[in-house]
């Protein structure tokens, strides 16, 4: 069986890629993509820990499904915001949206 640490390393790598993407990309859609990657890295961890822990306990899987649902909702709201921002300001570049800046 593949050792647990492989999954954790993979998830950490995925998380870091997502984090890097979310921090470094200027396009809001790409930032959302980065956030998605991070959420999925967490899912990998949850499912891996479930599999290597007590398999009879479904908590890990259930938690992962909850994360899916939340992620789906988050993307729906996020993309709707991006579209509405695009319609108002004609841009999806995060830096150009500085209305809230003093």
């Amino acid at each position: 069986m593949i050792p647990l640490s492989w999954y954790l390393t993979f998830a950490a790598a995925l998380f870091s890629i997502g984090l890097f993407g979310a921090l470094s990309r200027r396009n809001m859609v790409a930032i959302l993509l980065g956030v998605e990657l991070m959420l999925n890295a967490v899912n990998v961890n949850l499912v891996a820990f479930w599999r290597y822990g007590d398999v009879a306990q479904m908590a890990g899987q259930v938690f992962a499904i909850i994360v899916f649902a939340v992620a789906a909702a988050e993307v729906a709201v996020g993309l709707a915001l991006v579209i509405s921002v695009y319609r108002r300001h004609n841009t999806v570049i995060a830096e150009e949206l500085d209305l809230m800046k003093w």
């Binding site: 979310a22 921090l23 470094s24 930032i31 949206l97 809230m100 800046k101």
Partner: protein, 710 residues
């Protein structure tokens, strides 16, 4: 390699090709199509090896190639994922692999590979031509690689669906194709009509898919399995047939069958969910061929043929299936008569031919439905690719004259293309004759005749009559199309300068034309006069029939259906030629009936019945009532009340008490803090991100220190 392992591998190359093109080769057009066509070729090779090995197995129906592994634990049991190739699967795999490979090859020529980049082309619009030495020539598609990526994914979906051994993986492939059809119909996304067509196709098929998923869920809750081989056992089928479902007095088998059938109605564009398919013509022509012949709509019919043992458990469901099929067949055939766009005629013809298959299935003609599915896939892919070739040739003419007002898809702008595009003409003629059921030589004749013979032999006279009339219309509009497009003399300057297309486009036409003729010969009925004894037995019926536990009986030979199909095919072709041979312009066409031209006003009807009420509800109920009335109303109560409370506090507490005795010290402290914290409020979301990251690190570090070290 064992055959089972090989079957597992068949869907993979197109998926890998999709990933490769998207990730690495999308800048390089030549590399992209090489990857995609190699992948299609590998799948084709695998499919052919499997097919040949399947032919070598005795009693293949009882010992199909099957293997499965556990996939998803569901409590005590597992959802399995597996592959199954039985006689039906092998026959379907054969045509799917051939048509997909041919369409891939054709796409290279269709998207003008090797031509210069256009002068004003940009992504999301069809190419507009490039100027070379003062001449306008066809220009290469700007999103060439993207196209090959999408059709690769499409091919993956179809192969997955065909090799799957359970409804679960079938549904996965089904949905992948739904997505790809959306992406490809809306391929030229900068055209509003293409965008709308993509959305329409996706939404309409989605209606069917939801019902299908319900059917799958119901089936799973009753039987606890989704695997075909486990469901189609005597025991489970009887349980399903005897359990009442509580809806319309149907048995569980009947209701599940009906729900799955609604999925097919969406996917295979049967009445009343047929509206998306003609609009799907907005996509590039190889996509139309892909959707209308090789994959999507065939998948729908394949799914119901696959579920036939379940469907046939309930008479009522079968009646519904037969009715919908026969009605769609004649309904779409009449619309096709009045269409002027070369691709739209074929679109309605597809709907109508799918109706033939569904009707055949509804009267229990299992083998005939499968036979027509396969022959139709060959000749309809041929016709679509042929029409694409015609349009391509006409575009050549349009660029030559420079008159861009001429629609290269309108058949009344064509005429006389026979001499300009000989290969396209002869192959299109073969495809058209196969579609009309031209006697003896074409594949369409044998499959259509088998459906009619089955309908007659099993005493379904209404279905028989309906399909016979629909077949007459089919022959008529096919000949109308051929006459208007290829025969006579050119009606426009553009048609005079049309040009034969490159070999990448004509080769697939020739190959498909070969199958459009020869594939019919594998299913010649045993008792057919003269030819029957020659071939000795009906190979196709023997082979595919053994998919079922009880091999269906071929109907007794009768002259009535045979003569009927001869009369309608030849009569329709002859009349079509006679009426249209001298038609010079659209005004002389007697069949421009507005009722038919506007497709019985179904789009308008749905607009009024479904779309406008949905907008009305969104506007009036959700927005005006819910949002503005209820929610804002509640907020408007809170607003003034808070305002009142606030001003009361201000007037009776703040001003007299606080200002009097405490002074402005606290406000000044808050102001000072605010002023100094202001720089971190940059308004840039990513800086907030970093800040929260730093906080998480610091707090995490502290927690770690406290919990472990201290």
């Amino acid at each position: 390699m064992t055959t089972e392992n090989l079957i597992w591998l068949i869907p993979l190359p197109p998926l890998i090709s999709f990933a490769l093109i998207v990730l690495f080769t999308n800048k390089n057009k030549a590399l992209s199509h090489t990857v995609a066509i190699s992948a299609a070729f590998l799948s084709w090779l695998g499919a052919m090896i499997v097919f040949v090995r399947a032919l070598g197995v005795e009693h293949f129906g009882e010992h199909p190639f099957a293997s499965s592994i556990n996939w998803l634990p569901t409590g005590d049991t597992w959802l399995k994922v597996g592959v199954l190739i039985d006689p039906l699967g092998a026959a379907v795999l054969f045509f799917v692999a051939w048509t997909i490979l041919m369409i891939f090859l054709y796409s290279v020529g269709y998207h003008n590979f090797g031509q210069p980049a256009g002068d004003h082309d940009h992504a999301g619009l069809p190419p507009h031509g490039a100027t070379v030495h003062g001449h306008t020539v066809l220009s290469v598609e700007p999103m060439y690689s993207r196209f090959f990526a999408f059709i690769s994914l499409f091919a993956f979906g179809m192969f997955t669906l065909v090799v799957s051994d359970s409804l679960l993986t079938l549904f996965v492939g089904w949905e992948i194709m739904g997505l790809c059809s959306y992406l490809l119909i809306g391929f030229w996304y900068a055209k509003p009509s293409a965008r709308a067509a993509g959305i329409k196709a996706f939404m309409t098929t989605r209606i069917g898919d939801v019902f299908m998923l319900l059917g799958i869920a119901f089936l799973y809750s009753v039987t606890g399995t989704l695997s075909f081989r486990e469901i189609f056992t005597e025991e489970i089928l009887h349980t399903l047939a005897s359990v009442p479902s509580g809806v319309f007095g149907l048995s569980a088998a009947g209701l599940i069958g009906l729900l799955l059938f609604i999925g097919t109605v969406g996917k295979s564009a049967q009445f009343p969910l047929h509206v998306w398919l003609p609009d799907a013509m907005e996509g590039p022509t190889p996509v139309s061929a892909m959707i209308h012949a090789a994959t999507m709509v065939s998948a729908g019919v394949y799914a119901v043929i696959r579920m036939f043992p379940l469907l046939s458990m309930d008479e009522k469901t079968m009646t519904v299936v037969a009715f919908i099929g026969a009605f769609t067949a004649i309904f779409a055939a009449t619309i096709a008569v009045a269409q002027n766009d070369i691709k739209r005629v074929l679109a309605y013809s597809t709907i109508s031919q799918l109706g033939f298959m569904i009707a055949a299935l509804g009267i229990g003609a299992y083998v005939a439905a499968a036979f027509h599915l396969i022959t139709h896939a060959f000749f309809k892919a041929l016709l679509f690719l042929g029409s694409g070739s015609v349009i391509h040739g006409m575009e050549h003419g349009v660029f030559h004259t420079g008159n861009h007002k001429v629609d290269p898809q309108d058949m009344f702008n064509m005429g006389g293309l026979k001499d300009k595009m000989p290969i396209t003409f002869w192959t299109f003629l073969i495809g058209g004759f196969a579609l009309s059921g031209f006697p003896l030589v074409t594949a369409g004749f044998w499959s259509k005749d088998e459906i009619l013979a089955d309908a007659w032999g099993h005493h379904h006279y209404i279905v028989f009559a309906t399909l016979a009339i629909a077949a007459f219309f089919t022959a008529f509009y096919t000949m109308r199309q051929i006459t208007l497009t290829f025969l006579g003399s050119p009606r426009t300057e553009e048609a005079k300068h049309a040009h034969e297309t490159p070999w990448t486009m004509t080769t697939p036409l020739v190959v498909l034309a070969f199958f459009a003729v020869t594939y019919g010969w594998v299913g010649i009925p045993e008792h057919f006069p003269v030819l029957g004894p020659l071939v000795n037995n009906n190979w196709f019926h023997d082979f595919v029939g053994h998919t079922l536990e009880h091999v269906p009986e071929a109907p007794e030979f009768s002259w009535i259906p045979l003569l009927t199909s001869l009369v309608v095919a030849l009569g329709g072709l002859g009349l079509g030629w006679f009426v249209y041979k001298d038609v010079k312009s659209v005004e002389q066409d007697k069949f421009q009936i507005s009722f038919l031209k506007n497709k019985y006003y179904f789009d308008e009807l749905y607009e009024v019945v479904f779309i406008n009420p949905a907008y009305w509800v969104a506007e009036n109920v959700i927005y005006k009532f819910m949002d503005q009335g209820v929610i804002d109303g509640v907020l408007h109560i809170f607003g003034p009340v808070t305002d009142k409370i606030g001003s009361a506090i201000r007037n009776y507490f703040d001003v007299p008490v606080v200002n009097q005795f405490i002074g402005d010290g606290s406000a000044e402290v808050a102001w000072w803090f605010g002023k100094n914290l202001r720089p971190i409020q940059t308004g840039r979301i990513q800086q907030y991100f970093i800040l929260s990251l730093v906080v998480i690190f610091v707090v995490g570090g502290l927690l770690y220190y406290i919990l472990t070290l201290a």
